[in-house]
């Protein structure tokens, strides 16, 4: 495992993200309610820069004409074909068992955000 110091904690406040380079890999670092998550900046569909997409919640599976908004701040929507992933797990929202984006271990040490690859 190689560790990459990618940012200071202050650089990525809750609700924000930063796209960083970890030894040639493009990685999206997200702060969701104070917790950090690292996700590969490459959509498993056609390889587009996933982490540049919209970050927010989504409409969860529901009954017809019922709208249940949830996962606020956890869902990244790919800017190309709109595949949605939960950044806290890397799993696809529509097909969590079959489709996922690579996630990486991440921790905070002495005010720095560290990604382990």
């Amino acid at each position: 495992m190689t560790e990459f110091v990618v940012a200071s904690v202050d650089e990525i406040p809750p609700g924000s993200r930063k796209i960083v380079d970890c030894g040639g890999r493009s990685v999206g670092v997200f702060n969701v309610d104070g917790e950090f998550y690292a996700v590969r900046n490459r959509c498993p569909h056609q390889g587009v820069a996933l982490c540049q997409g919209q970050l927010g919640g989504t409409f969860l599976p529901s009954a017809p004409q019922e709208f249940v908004y949830g996962l606020e701040g956890q869902v990244i929507t790919c800017p190309a074909h709109r595949w949605q992933f939960n950044v806290t797990t890397g799993r696809s929202v529509s097909e969590p068992d079959r489709v996922a984006v690579r996630t990486y271990k991440i921790h905070v040490k002495e005010g720095s955000v560290v990604v382990s690859i």
Binding site: N41, Q46, G47, A49, Q52, Q54, A80, R82
Partner: protein
């Protein structure tokens, strides 16, 4: 697999940040579906529209001047044409926004970097973006004026930026006389490759359109069809019956418009009357094509005497005269099913590569074609388009 060219100082951050994964090599490919967009709506066309029309549509004075002649103009839009909770303009990729501002697809210089250079394409065939609803206008002369202005804009703004930008002659379907005049105006232009006939309720096989086909055939320009305009203004929905509720619904069913128009073209004997005519079905899908081919063939054998001008199997007319673009490529669970469909449509003759840049569902030239057999890929990327668009050779 090839490496992306080394980034230069001039390349934008946006183009550099997007990683280029491995897959197919699109070098030299002809992208048969690329959309130029306006920066500021129809104001972009103001320099190319006559005073009378500018007065009619409230653009005679400068934008923002506050006069009655500066309120601006929009063509009517189909009611489902928006994606929910999507920032910026509907249907555009977020990661293609030009760094200098403006919506995705509106900056020719950025498109050179982000599409042409990035994938080392041989050419991009531009086909109208924001103009596509003119077939829904009740005023045939306004529709014609906007079509003419769009063609001037393509030549002036896009072709001047890079010779790899090729164009489609936009024509409005309401008045064939104006359309023919426009084909004759641009027919010999080295970079105008085809005629984009905007959608309306009229079926394309009807003789209303035959003067257009005569002109297109004379200039060896294919006719191109593209989604857009259905359900706009006076046009009916693209589906059988009332308009759909959801964009996702519309987008899944839009081949209906293509099916109706292709069947009409065949049945009316268009390809007998105009043996040199070619038709490109852009972004309409193609997995429905075997159904139409088989159904037409079976019915021809039984009902040929109703349409005695059809002297061969309808599927033979289709394979000879019709081309389809690849995007959005199907992604079946079993890739052998895709291969089977490609074989059914004789894809080595009929299929042409496209990205649909900068639309939301565009295909990445490197990664999207991995499931296509090599023998089809070899033809679709460059050879089939160059055979069709004779000006490219």
């Amino acid at each position: 697999m090839t490496q992306a060219p080394a980034p230069t100082e001039e390349r934008s951050d946006q183009a550099e940040r997007r990683p280029r994964p491995s897959g197919v090599d699109p070098t030299g490919a002809i992208d048969c579906d690329v959309h130029p967009g306006f920066v500021d709506g129809f104001w972009d066309l103001k320099p190319y529209i006559d005073d009378y029309w500018l007065a009619r549509i409230g653009m005679r004075d400068e934008k923002g001047s506050g006069t009655g002649m500066s309120q601006g103009f929009k063509t009517p839009k189909a009611p489902w044409l928006r994606l929910p909770a999507y920032p910026g303009r509907p249907a555009l990729r977020q990661d293609c926004a030009p760094p200098g501002g403006g919506p995705p697809g509106s900056d020719p210089e950025f498109m050179v970097q982000d599409l042409l250079d990035r994938y080392e394409l041989g050419a991009a065939v531009l086909i109208g973006g924001d103009i596509r609803d003119i077939g829904g206008l009740p005023d045939q002369d306004l529709a014609g004026a906007l079509a003419r202005a769009h063609n001037d804009w393509i030549a002036d703004v896009w072709m001047e930026t890079d010779p790899r930008f090729k164009g489609s002659i936009t024509i409005a379907p309401q008045d064939p006389a104006q359309a023919v005049a426009e084909i004759e105006r641009w027919g010999d232009h080295p970079s105008m490759l085809q005629v984009h006939i905007n959608n309306s309720d009229r079926l394309l096989g009807k003789r209303h359109f035959w003067p257009i086909y005569e002109a297109a055939e004379a200039y060896q320009l294919p006719i191109a069809l593209h989604p857009g305009g259905e359900g706009a203004g006076v046009n009916s929905s693209m589906s059988a019956g009332e308009p759909p509720s959801y964009f996702m619904e519309f987008h899944s069913a839009l081949s209906q418009h293509y099916q109706a128009n292709l069947t009409s073209l065949v049945a009316e004997g268009t390809f007998e009357r105009f043996p040199g005519l070619r038709v490109v079905l852009v972004e309409g899908g193609f997995a429905w094509l075997p159904h139409i081919m088989w159904r037409l063939n079976k019915n021809w054998r039984a009902l040929r005497d109703e349409v005695p001008w059809l002297k061969r199997l309808p599927s033979e007319y289709i394979v000879e005269h019709v081309r389809v673009t690849s995007q959005p490529l199907y992604e079946p669970e079993d890739t052998r099913h895709l291969e089977a469909v490609l074989e059914m449509i004789d894809a080595e003759r009929t299929l042409m590569f496209s990205t649909d840049y900068p639309h939301w569902d565009g295909d990445d030239p490197v990664t999207a074609l991995r499931t296509v057999p090599a023998s089809v890929r070899e033809r679709m990327l460059e050879l089939t388009p160059k055979e069709l668009y004779t000006k490219l050779s």
